[in-house]
């Protein structure tokens, strides 16, 4: 399994100067912004588009996530969008013409308490009724799929079983983003880096221009895809939204011979782990509790995560922590995203993905492009409207998300 990575294409994207006007301005050149651009061009033939990125393309959470892809969410609304994304992942390498190393190696979500078992059975049954592959496994069956997990009874929180989604997997995050970027660029879309949005010019309920560090840009429609910095943009528009930005840390080990054939996630012994193609162990855990826009966190979070990793995988004791880093996740009160209309008629919002953003990338890109093209929320994103915090129609995924937000 440990392997050298495939070559990148000889050409990725141009470095254009921003034009003075675009039909669509996508704010945020991360995975979601780039995927939206790609599907605007591919599905809707909309190519007079700029993607504005304040730093380097896909340098935010797209470069910082742990690359896990799954669709085994509890609620119908979540399952629909993540399963839509997973189906797109299954054809994405071909669509993008890029070796994104999508590897469907399955995900185990471990249960360590009686309540974990109840919640797991509930989610498996819901997944199956929604047509999503899901199984409940006994500890012995867990050990067959991932022999290095400690399923013995002599640990603090023994493994009572696990849910298993065989179609879940990992992909190489940078390659995914670059694949989308290259396709968007080929379609004539301008990917503009080092271009920070600093304000908006409005006329009634329309945004007419986007002010940037590289000049003002007139816009037909605006799609906000700025993840943890969405709240900053919404402040510029005077739109309140219930978003909290937290640091979320992740880490890798050095390169190791293959030992870990799948993905393992645990909430009670809090860590999630996979082994990337080259051989490094990639891990994450919970968010840092305080709010902030700094892309780094506190070290005790890492220490606790290491304790959890060694507890579940005793053989990791002398693997070495090579690098830690942080992203900024935007978290909502119900741990589900906010997508769709804003009080401005030509501004669409896409935010609040918390820890789920990477796996949703093609799905949300597809749906947001459709939303922009048709001027109404795509059915898969309609349940995630901002006004649900007023109506109370929440999609509360706290119990089912990988990470306790």
């Amino acid at each position: 399994m440990a392997e050298n990575l495939p070559e990148h294409p000889d050409f990725l994207w141009r470095t254009p100067e921003p034009r003075r006007s675009y039909d669509v301005v996508v704010v945020g050149g991360g995975g979601h912004g780039l995927a939206t651009a790609h599907y605007l061009a591919k599905n809707h033939g909309i190519t007079n588009v700029a993607v504005l990125e304040k730093g380097w393309l896909a340098g935010g959470n797209m470069a910082r996530n742990t690359t896990l892809i799954r669709s085994n969410y509890l609620w119908d609304e979540s399952a629909a969008i993540y399963e839509h994304a997973l189906k797109l992942w299954e054809g994405l390498e071909e669509d993008l013409g890029y070796p994104i190393l999508f590897s469907q190696r399955g995900v185990l979500n471990l249960a360590h308490t009686e309540q974990d078992v109840r919640d797991s059975v509930r989610r498996v049954e819901a997944n199956r009724l929604n047509g999503i592959d899901a199984e409940w496994l006994s500890p012995d069956e867990v050990a067959k799929i991932c022999p290095i997990v400690n399923v013995s009874g002599d640990i603090r929180y023994p493994v009572h079983g696990a849910t298993y989604q065989p179609r879940a997997g990992i992909a190489k995050h940078d390659y995914v983003a670059w694949g989308f970027a290259r396709r968007a660029d080929e379609a004539g879309i301008d990917l503009i880096q080092d271009c920070e949005v600093v304000g908006f010019e409005t006329d009634g309920d329309l945004v007419t221009r986007v002010r940037t560090t590289r000049g003002d840009i007139a816009c037909g429609t605006v799609a906000l895809c700025a993840a943890g910095h969405t709240s900053v943009l919404l402040d510029m528009l005077g739109v309140p939204a219930p978003l909290q930005s937290h640091p979320l840390q992740a880490l890798v080990s050095e390169l190791l011979e293959p030992v870990h054939p799948t993905i393992v996630m645990s909430n009670a012994v809090h860590v999630y782990v996979s082994q990337a193609h080259k051989g490094e162990l990639v891990m994450g855990a919970g968010v840092d509790s305080y709010n902030g826009y700094g892309q780094r966190g506190a070290f005790h979070i890492i220490e606790r995560q290491m304790a959890a990793a060694v507890e579940l995988f005793p053989m990791f004791a002398r693997a070495h922590l090579l690098r830690t880093w942080g992203g900024i996740v935007d978290v909502t009160p119900d741990a589900s995203p906010i997508v769709g209309h804003t009080p401005y008629a030509n501004v669409y919002l896409n935010s609040g993905w918390g820890t789920g953003g990477f796996k949703a990338t093609p799905g949300i890109g597809w749906c947001l492009a459709d939303t922009v093209a048709h001027g109404r929320p795509h059915p898969y994103v309609a349940p995630f409207a901002l006004d649900r915090f007023t109506t109370g129609a929440l999609v509360d995924e706290h119990g089912a998300a990988a990470v306790a937000h």
Binding site: A2, V121, L129, F299, M315, A317, P333, A393, L394
Partner: protein, 915 residues
């Protein structure tokens, strides 16, 4: 052998034996695996990860990009640099190809953690750091001095003089002075690997690997958590190579590393040496290696000047353009602009990069110094000082001055910034561990990439074990050159902790196995164990789940049998439960009632002393987060019972509201969970048992009504009795301080014996409460359930002006009649027990294709002794209106028909409550 007499500080009077790739060698105390192998002329010790090319030792310490090996004995550990493995007798190691192998056997070593607090932390015990530590110690500071190598002195080789003395004597004297200070802690073999805000530095101390055998009882590694008022970064600099074609072969090294090998270990790494440098420092290496007997040729692209260090070596103006190899793949000659030169060692030196990681970890900005050809710390950070080579001050006098806190006159620069020479870019390696070349960078820029972060990800430069210590700045420089932009416009990639790789187990520390999370036990734990209880984890608590009796066939009862027996005994006679884990919070102050009125959905301030009230708490979204009883102790005091799992979160929740939203309220909150042990005594005969325990208390229904409490004494010990029932039966909760709990419990058991008192566990408690339709928050609710959904509208005040969650009850969706509501479910087949978590769908004989609309799920499911059948609680859409309907529960491949009922299945009239 390349060991040179008269050089080095290894102890040659003692011999250590070790094995590398199956071959036995010897070395000496003080050696590293790398120095001992080089002493035997072993130059190839690894293979590269992508191209499988031979690799040797390139640098002498943790910046080495190439010499990764696998240790096999004394314990398997992957991916260690041979240069940082201290040699011990019996060491077994092997070469690897860029990937390590994890041990199949458990690591039994112990790892631990300590804290240190000081005014001044000095990282690096080289000349600058030593003087900084001495200055701070003389000032009276508490000082911590850490250095990652086994000995202090940093880059000092012993050839220098400080204050007229041998430099190493100066080091020894300074250390001795520091050691004499009571408040100075010196930690060698300790790597400061992470720097966080407010002077927080993490350091790893390696305590036993250099000792063979490792002493028992000593932790192998220790993480120091150091909080310093001031952090002095004196971490030196890393030498930077010049990139030439085929610069990855064994036998190619940084110049100062070869010099260090000679002076520290007495190892002459080559006999025919070519030094290629554009910086004066490498002249010392040339002179010293020549002095030790090597034949040295130095090539420098700069015009020959007369003031550099002389020695017995040839020197000419020139460039190395490439290298050639012998049959073993190691260097055999170099190609220069003047022709070919045979050699067995090529030393490269293009200048120095300040080791500014710890400055960068806390977001210190680096600025490019064009004269140095390096990034050095820019604008100062509060609480952080960077001194010596880490600050770009490379001369000894300047380092000493900065260590003393002075600002030295900068010396005139004589170096030439040279990143690479002409040659085939595909053979010019930038990151030797990742086999990444100048051609790879050119491909990246050709693909349109303009950011060093993109180039890093495209080429993988800087992603290996060394995180670009020698390659990072080169990559930025070559990218800048290819793009035709100034290097300062690109900067570097981000420095992130840890500075060097750290074993997972070291960071896990003692938090493994049973210490992964504290185990909390009640005061009665020993009794439960002796009684044969089966335990379940509830948060950190171990709770008795049931007490199996010996079975008929010699084993013990299974859970179903034991729980049916316990349930029947409680409803027939009397049972006793250890409920001590329930959270308890004493809420006290003139505004305690007003505070609880905001926290609970129902009114609490109106509760009179001596009375008990059940209450529900919601979050802002109007969903239930906890429930429990509240005892009014006196005018200003309430005792709040939370669920077991809610004890800490609810206290946090209350404190957050109190401290951030209602700081004007005069209320204090005190957790008393562990101060009170609580035992419900439950069942028709509970009055007899409690009456016998407290003969002075009138326990009649009239004198001691439901939802009241009284204090009494038993043998002089204060005991609290409260008429609270979580089963529908006549019941008292008996509370006593934890110290007296075992005696009181045993007394209750003895007093209850004539009435058949039966200890029961959490499982029976769950069945009994479910039979009455009492929800367990967190099991029958999931954060999406309102009090109304639970059929508890009666617990939501309509009079209070405000409370947490009130506004949300007015939202449209909260009033939707199709919300999920708590109901009972009876499988039509009374022997079928539904798995908890099962989904519920409309009645059907055949499962339709997905997506199948779901109506809700089974939250609790049991066998009931009282009902003589199975039953379940469930959340069902519009459930209250569906009572009497039939639905379907898919279980495995089966479709189980069920009937919806009310949630109260036993004694719906409440006749049993008063006995």
């Amino acid at each position: 052998m390349t060991r040179v007499d008269g050089y080095g500080r290894v102890d040659r009077t003692r011999t250590l034996r070790f094995t590398f790739d199956g071959v036995s060698y010897t070395g000496h105390p003080g050696d590293t695996l790398a120095s001992a192998l080089l002493a035997h002329g072993v130059r190839t010790i690894a293979r590269s990860v992508k191209q499988d090319r031979p690799r040797g030792v390139t640098a002498v310490w943790s910046e080495d990009p190439t010499g990764l090996v696998q240790v096999e004995e004394p314990f398997p550990e992957p991916m260690l640099l041979a240069t940082t493995i201290e040699l011990v007798d019996g060491l077994v190691a092997s070469s690897i190809g860029g990937r390590g192998r994890l041990a199949e056997v458990p690591d039994t070593a112990r790892y631990d953690r300590r804290y240190a607090h000081c005014e001044t932390l000095v990282v690096g015990a080289g000349p600058a750091g030593l003087l900084a530590a001495r200055t701070a110690a003389r000032r009276g500071d508490r000082v911590v001095l850490v250095d990652d190598r086994p000995a202090a002195g940093g880059s000092l080789t012993g050839t220098e003089r400080i204050c007229g003395r041998d430099a190493l004597d100066f080091v020894a004297d300074t250390l001795a002075e520091l050691r004499a200070h009571p408040d100075v802690r010196i930690l060698l073999r300790t790597t400061a690997f992470g720097h966080y805000d407010d002077g927080f530095v993490l350091a790893l101390e390696r305590r036993t690997d250099h000792l063979a055998p490792a002493p028992q009882g000593l932790s192998r590694q220790r993480v120091w958590r150091i909080r310093a008022g001031h952090v002095v970064v004196a971490t030196g600099a890393h030498e930077r190579p010049i990139v030439v074609a085929d610069n990855d072969r064994p036998g190619i090294m940084l110049a100062a590393s070869a010099r260090d090998l000679l002076h520290r270990y007495g190892v002459l790494a080559g006999r025919r040496v070519v030094v290629f440098t554009s910086d004066d420092a490498a002249y010392d290496a040339a002179a010293d290696l020549a002095g030790a007997g090597a034949e040295v040729t130095l090539l420098d692209p700069r015009p020959v000047r007369g003031d550099s260090r002389s020695g017995d070596y040839r020197r000419s103006r020139g460039l190395v353009l490439g290298t050639g190899a012998g049959p073993d793949g190691a260097i055999s000659h170099v190609f220069t602009d003047q022709g070919e030169l045979p050699c067995d060692l090529l030393l490269l030196s293009g200048g120095w990069n300040p080791t500014s990681h710890l400055f960068s970890h806390v977001r210190g900005a680096l600025r490019y110094d064009a004269e140095l050809g390096a990034f050095r710390p820019g604008e100062a950070l509060a609480g952080v000082t960077v001194v010596g080579a880490a600050n770009g001050t490379f001369d000894l006098a300047g380092c000493l001055a900065e260590g003393r806190g002075e600002t030295p006159e900068p010396l005139p620069r004589t170096n030439l910034v040279l990143w690479r020479t002409d040659g085939d870019p595909a053979r010019q390696y930038v990151d030797l561990q990742r086999d990444s070349t100048v051609a790879d960078i050119a491909r990246a820029t050709g693909a349109g990439l303009r950011s060093v972060e993109h180039v890093k990800r495209y080429t993988t430069i800087g992603t290996a074990h060394d995180q670009g210590k020698t390659s990072g700045v080169l990559a930025s420089a070559i990218t800048a050159e290819l793009l035709g932009v100034p290097i300062e416009s690109l900067g570097t990639t981000t420095f992130r902790p840890p500075y060097t790789p750290i074993a997972f187990a070291a960071l896990a520390g003692r938090e493994r196995g049973q210490l992964f999370d504290p185990v909390r036990t009640t005061a009665l734990h020993a009794w439960h164990v002796a009684r044969g209880a089966v335990f379940e984890d509830v948060g950190q608590w171990k709770r008795a789940r049931y007490y199996p009796l010996p079975g008929e066939a010699g084993g013990t009862e299974d859970m179903d049998t034991a729980v049916l027996r316990e349930c029947a005994a409680v409803r027939r006679d009397v049972g006793i439960l250890d409920g001590s884990t329930l959270g308890k919070i004493e809420v006290r102050g003139p505004d305690a009632g007003a505070f609880l009125d905001m926290i609970y959905t129902n009114l609490m301030s109106s509760l009179r002393p001596g009375r008990v009230r059940y209450g529900v708490m919601c979050g802002l979204d109007g969903m239930v987060i906890d429930d429990g009883t509240v005892l009014r102790l006196d005018d200003e005091g309430f005792l709040v019972y939370t669920t077991t799992g809610g004890a800490a979160p609810i206290l946090d929740h209350m404190e957050e509201w109190l401290q951030t939203e209602w700081p004007h309220l005069r209320v204090t909150l005190t957790s008393v969970t562990e101060q009170w042990a609580t035992f419900p005594v439950v069942g028709p005969r509970s009055r007899d048992v409690v009456g016998a325990l407290a003969p002075h208390v009138d326990v009649s229904a009239a004198a001691f009504p439901f939802m009241t409490w009284q204090d009494t004494e038993v043998d002089g010990v204060p005991v609290r009795l409260a008429r609270i029932s979580f089963s529908g039966e006549l019941a008292w909760e008996v509370s006593v301080d934890g110290w007296h709990a075992p005696a009181l419990w045993r007394r209750l058991i003895a007093l209850g014996e004539p009435y058949g008192i039966t200890p029961y566990g959490t499982e029976t408690m769950h069945v009994l409460r479910a039979e009455k339709g009492y929800p367990i928050i967190g099991q029958d609710t999931d954060g999406t359930v309102s009090p109304q959904d639970l059929g508890m509208s009666w617990a939501v005040s309509t009079k209070k002006v405000d409370f947490i969650g009130k506004r949300s009850f007015a939202r449209a969706e909260n009033r939707n009649p199709l919300r999920k509501q708590l109901v009972g479910l009876l499988p039509l087949d009374p022997t079928v027990k539904l798995p908890e978590g099962s989904q519920i769908i409309e009645q059907t004989a055949e499962l339709p294709p997905p997506p199948v609309p779901m109506l809700g799920h089974v939250t609790s499911s049991y066998r009931s002794a009282a009902l003589g059948r199975t039953f379940a609680l469930a959340l069902v859409k519009g459930g209250h209106a569906r009572i009497g309907e039939r639905l379907t529960v898919p279980v495995g491949g089966d479709l189980v028909p069920v009937e919806v009922t009310g949630s109260v299945l036993v004694d719906p009239e409440g006749t049993r409550r008063d006995g």
